[in-house]
Amino acid sequence: MSEKAGLFAIFFSAVFTQNILLTYYLGMCSFLAVSRQVKTSLGLGMAVVFVMTFTSGLNWLVFYHILEPLELQYLRFIVFIVVIAAFVQIVEMIIERASDALYAALGIFLPLITVNCAILGVSLFMIIREQGFWESVAYGFGSGVGWMLAILAMAGIRQKMARSRVPGGLEGAGITLVIAGIMALAFMGLSGVI
């Protein structure tokens, strides 16, 4: 029971209080570039949740069962990125065969994800925090959901703001960063919960 509560706490804090995007700044590039529309943000967000959950588990297995016994921990950057890239490639092929609708929704976002820093970041954080297997999966899933939440909120705000007037130099990236800052403040308010 207590273990379950632990997993939930990890999940919750990864979604809200330690949101990977708003407190660790990971995945900013695609966050700024893709957050123009809710629909595309949702597609990318779902792809991130999916890939993050599985790669954090896979990388945990690879790190503790292959790299550590062989004392090759220093190779982890290369190995993690290869695992992520290979996973994304395989998933892309499976989805393409299995379901056209799913491929249309997620397919174009998958290649983008290989270079999304948040995915690699989750795997690296998991090693630094010395989490167990299920904890890592919960953390990966939570971070993915947190990232999706942030990009959806941002896309919603940006769509509402599409016709608002913004001071000259702040258009585009500038105003997006200001919104992100305010969102980060809001998420910080939740930090008392856990």
Binding site: R76, I78, V115, C117, I128, L177, V178
Partner: protein, 204 residues
């Protein structure tokens, strides 16, 4: 060899085509370390090293890299240099290495490095690519250093760990926390776009 293209590359990267404020690229991994100036300097050195050498290597190999798997090859080259950076920092500055945490490894996925390799190194000779790597690394670094300078100054009243603003100063603790950096970068982009780029446009 021709000096003028190298000079042009430097000017482009430091000014108009700066990766941070003109293209808003690669701000992911390094924003997190700008709360203290010292860490930022270390991070920037690592970044310049990686960008320059990976650009150089990609450019050397550009005729042999099959275009279908070029992304993978680029990532592997970048990752090898990042491993060197990580090991050197760990061996010489263990404290800073602990504070930087995963962000050194995240240099790999910094879009600037990948972007330069893809856009420049694949189509240019090694010498110029090396210069381009240094230039875009520096263009990125100086923006981060400015941000880090103000964040540390306002957030903890200090520069390089030495208190400069005295006892009377009340720390803006929001500056060293997550939201501060978003506002800081937004203000920075605003100033650059509003003042500097506008002047250039008027001149042109």
């Amino acid at each position: 060899m021709a000096r003028s293209p190298v000079k042009k590359i430097f000017l482009e990267n430091l000014g108009r085509n700066n990766p941070v404020f003109a293209q808003v690229l690669g701000i992911c991994s390094t924003l997190a370390v700008t709360n203290v100036l010292k860490n930022t300097v270390i991070m920037c050195l690592g970044l310049v090293f990686t960008t320059a050498l990976s650009n150089f290597t990609v450019s050397l190999l550009r005729k042999w890299i099959p275009s279908r798997i070029r992304m993978m090859v680029e990532v592997l080259i970048i990752a090898s240099y990042v491993i060197i950076v990580d090991i050197v920092i760990k061996a010489t500055l263990p404290d800073i290495s602990r504070q930087l945490g995963p962000y050194v490894g995240l240099i790999i996925t910094n879009c600037i490095i990948m972007g330069r390799a893809e856009a420049f190194a694949l189509s240019n000779p090694p010498g110029v690519s090396f210069a381009d790597g240094i230039a875009s690394g520096l263009g990125y670094s100086y923006v981060l250093l400015i941000i880090a300078f103000f964040r540390e100054l306002l957030g903890s009243g200090a520069i390089w760990g030495i208190s400069v603003l005295g006892e009377a100063w009340v720390n803006w603790s929001i500056m060293v926390m997550a939201p501060g950096v978003f506002f800081m970068l937004a203000i920075f982009i605003w100033i650059i776009k509003g003042v500097v780029l506008k002047q250039e446009e008027e001149k042109a």
